[in-house]
């Protein structure tokens, strides 16, 4: 256990991933024609990836655990450090999950507004500024794609109800 570091976990994860994918190559339908079967190239790639992951694992194990004295692991600190990216991912996921209901325009405006507010602050003036930016920028982009490039975005069930 004294040799375990972050890279060891990543290497083990990669090896597991290779295992899952190598197993999945046996589910690929075989064909009777051609010399290079559909599963052959993925297997070549996966063998290379497995060998590289093994080298990575040995390298990581040889390096050993990080020197003592560093900061102790704490979920709170981790959340604090990655606060902004986590907001981005969380809100983007929410935007995706509600896309069918809110549509691209409303969902996009809400996503930008919420993200701006989460990162930039929620003071009275901030809220107004963020709302304005979200409506103008997303509205302009939506209009450009819809009317100039002819893209049909998801309208959202909410608009149909309204």
């Amino acid at each position: 256990l004294s040799r375990i570091n972050r890279d060891v976990y990543i290497a083990v994860f990669l090896l597991l991933l290779c295992g899952v994918f190598i197993g999945a190559t046996y589910d690929i339908r075989e064909i009777d024609y051609g010399i290079l079967t559909p599963a052959a190239w993925p297997r070549i790639v996966l063998v290379a990836l497995t060998v590289l992951s093994l080298i990575y694992l040995f390298q990581s194990l040889r390096r050993g655990a990080p020197a003592a004295g560093g900061e102790a692991f704490s979920v709170k600190k981790l959340l604090e450090r990655y606060r902004n990216p986590l907001w981005c991912y969380g809100l983007f996921l929410l935007f995706l999950l509600t896309l069918d209901y809110l549509g691209m325009l409303i969902g996009g405006v809400l996503f930008v507004f919420c993200l701006l507010t989460a990162i930039g602050g929620a003071g009275k003036r901030d809220l107004l500024r963020h709302a304005l930016i979200a409506i103008v920028m997303i509205g302009a982009m939506w209009a450009l794609f819809t009317y100039a490039l002819g893209v049909i975005f998801p309208q959202g069930e909410i608009v149909s109800i309204l």
Partner: protein, 561 residues
């Protein structure tokens, strides 16, 4: 025939709509290049969704505009704020910022703009003359040669890997794996869909690219909570008037530096993986070494601006030579352009110039035109740049994140592409955190399908694997591939360990074998020359007593641009 092609390309390119779109592209590139945190590759990637609805000439011309604009945009923030807009302009800040602080910002910007312009034009001339010649050689290639060429391109990942070779190679292999997901192009058989209908179609190239590169980059920019709430203008950006006439005359007076730096740029661009992030530093270093007053470098010296700016724009021409003549990307931006060609149903290969001459010559002309546009638009863009520098980083990033989703959806009108963007955005960000370089993964995604296609064609012609080593060109590329994998190690240990003294000689000896196999007086002569150079290198080290210096300084290392 060449003139006919140029005339046809001229007709295609010089349409009002295309020219106007290129102007927009150049302006977007100049701005994106100018804002620290936004890379040229990101700007080109984000342009792709817009070009999807355009024809191939229009779309690629716009991307060319963004590429050239981006290379020149970095000098604005580099000179005015001391923060390079892109890694291509790092060396520009060494003398550009001191000159601006000494009260001559307009002259410093002028030097940068005119050096970029002349560097771009020199490389454009070389692109037009060299690319078709190189492509002519490419016409000799058989299926085995093509596959080995792609293998060589994939080993570029080793050079892109930076400090950790294994991590870079893993990233490259992951890219290849991603490219295998979905319906197999050759036989139409579904792979790795895990019962999901949406995955059966495979991951769209663009959502993967935008997710991996742009999405994850934006999140990295927002990571620092204090910086995220700051605007670039707090670094000291000011509006100035560019001194064009005086600067142009000065650049022309320093023509030896200009030509030398441009050639360094073109050569660096031709070398796979060595992009403008390294050429600007190499050119600066050479200009300093060649100068009669090296002590003036770093204090606001004219040559210190001319060298990096001409080199970084010239690199674009070099990278395009490799992409258009051989179908392999010279750097990450050309990897994206290669993907764009695929989207427009153009298969990049050595036959590209002969099979699609109008498109190829349109790209040549677009590269010329983009350089002229950059020159004309820089003064106006400077005002826009100053305005944008007042916007806080989190506002810019949030809007671009939303734009990523809108742009990606517009590609095929399916929401699954936005999910792809999201998951690859997460993957890209985690890879950044864990120290895996993203460029090799992108190369893997771009080249995976091409490699499989050529391997299938080679095996369909003959299942005899010995062709891969008995075909001279295939052997040539496999040798290059083998040595390029170990090149970063060689670069790190050069002059410090004894094996590095033998490495170049062994490389030259091995490379002479396919040259002899090819036959013909020129290639046999080349083989003899390679042998002679190898022997000379060994004799030189033997006379020096195989001395190494463990404390020798390192050459600039390759970085992701």
């Amino acid at each position: 025939l060449v003139l006919d092609n140029i005339a046809a390309a001229f007709h295609e390119l010089f349409v009002l709509k295309t020219v106007l779109l290129m102007v927009v592209g150049v302006v977007a590139g100049l701005i994106a290049g100018g804002v620290p945190g936004f890379t040229i590759a990101m700007a080109v990637v984000l342009t792709l969704p817009f070009t999807f609805g355009m024809d191939a000439v229009q779309g690629l011309a716009v991307m060319m505009g963004v590429f050239v604009g981006g290379l020149s945009g970095g000098l604005m923030s580099g000179i005015l704020t001391g923060i390079p807009g892109t890694p291509s302009s790092v060396a520009t800040t060494f003398d550009g910022f001191p000159m601006a602080r000494a009260g001559r910002p307009g002259f410093a910007l002028g030097l940068g703009v005119w050096s970029s312009f002349f560097g771009g034009i020199i490389s454009a001339v070389l692109l037009v003359t060299l690319a078709p010649q190189l492509a002519r050689i490419g016409l000799e290639f058989q299926q085995w040669d093509y596959f080995s060429l792609v293998v060589f391109a994939l080993t570029i990942t080793a050079s892109l890997a930076g400090e950790n070779l294994v991590k870079g190679l893993i990233a490259g292999a992951l890219g290849l794996l991603v490219a295998t997901v979905g319906e197999d192009e050759i036989n139409g058989v579904a792979r790795f869909d895990f019962g999901n209908e949406a995955i059966k179609q495979g991951f769209g190239f663009l959502p993967v690219l935008i997710g991996l590169f742009a999405f994850s980059q934006l999140l990295s920019d927002l990571e620092d909570r204090v910086k995220a709430r700051k605007s670039l203008a707090e670094g000291g950006g000011v509006a100035v008037r560019i001194e064009h006439r005086k600067a142009a005359m000065t650049v022309l007076r320093h023509w030896t530096n200009l030509v030398r730096s441009s050639l360094i740029g073109v050569f660096t661009g031709i070398l796979p993986a060595a992009g403008s992030s390294i050429s600007n530093i190499l050119a600066y270093d050479q200009a300093k070494k060649a100068s009669r007053e090296p002590e003036k470098f770093g204090t606001g010296c004219e040559d210190g601006i001319i060298a990096p700016e001409s080199a970084n724009n010239a690199t674009a021409g070099g990278a395009l030579i490799t992409m258009m003549a051989l179908g392999i990307p010279g750097d990450i931006v050309t990897a994206v352009m290669l993907g764009a060609l695929l989207i427009h149903d153009v298969i990049p290969s050595p036959t590209f110039i002969t099979e699609s001459p109008v498109l190829a010559y349109s790209l040549f002309l677009a590269f010329f035109l983009a350089n002229f546009m950059m020159l004309a638009l820089q003064s106006y863009t400077l005002r826009l740049f100053v305005l944008i520098t007042r916007v806080k980083m989190y506002i810019l990033a949030s809007i671009i994140l939303a734009y990523c989703a809108i742009g990606v959806f517009a590609l095929s009108n399916i929401a699954f592409d936005i999910w792809t963007l999201f998951w690859f955005g997460v993957l890209g960000y985690l890879m950044r955190i864990f120290g895996f370089p993203l460029a090799p993964m992108i190369l893997g995604v771009v080249l995976g399908g091409i490699a499989e296609r050529w391997l299938s064609r080679a095996l369909a012609r003959s299942d005899d694997l010995s062709y891969f080593v008995t075909s001279p060109w295939s052997l040539f590329f496999l040798i290059l591939a083998a040595f390029s994998v170990f090149f970063p190690k060689y670069q790190a240990d050069r002059g410090k360990k004894t094996w590095t003294l033998v490495y170049p000689a062994v490389f030259l000896f091995t490379l002479s074998v396919p040259a002899f196999m090819m036959g013909g007086p020129v290639r046999i002569g080349l083989g003899i020359l390679l042998l002679a150079m190898g022997i000379r290198s060994l004799i030189k080290h033997h006379r020096n007593g195989w001395k190494v210096d463990p404390a020798a300084s390192l050459a600039p290392t390759l970085r992701e641009g």
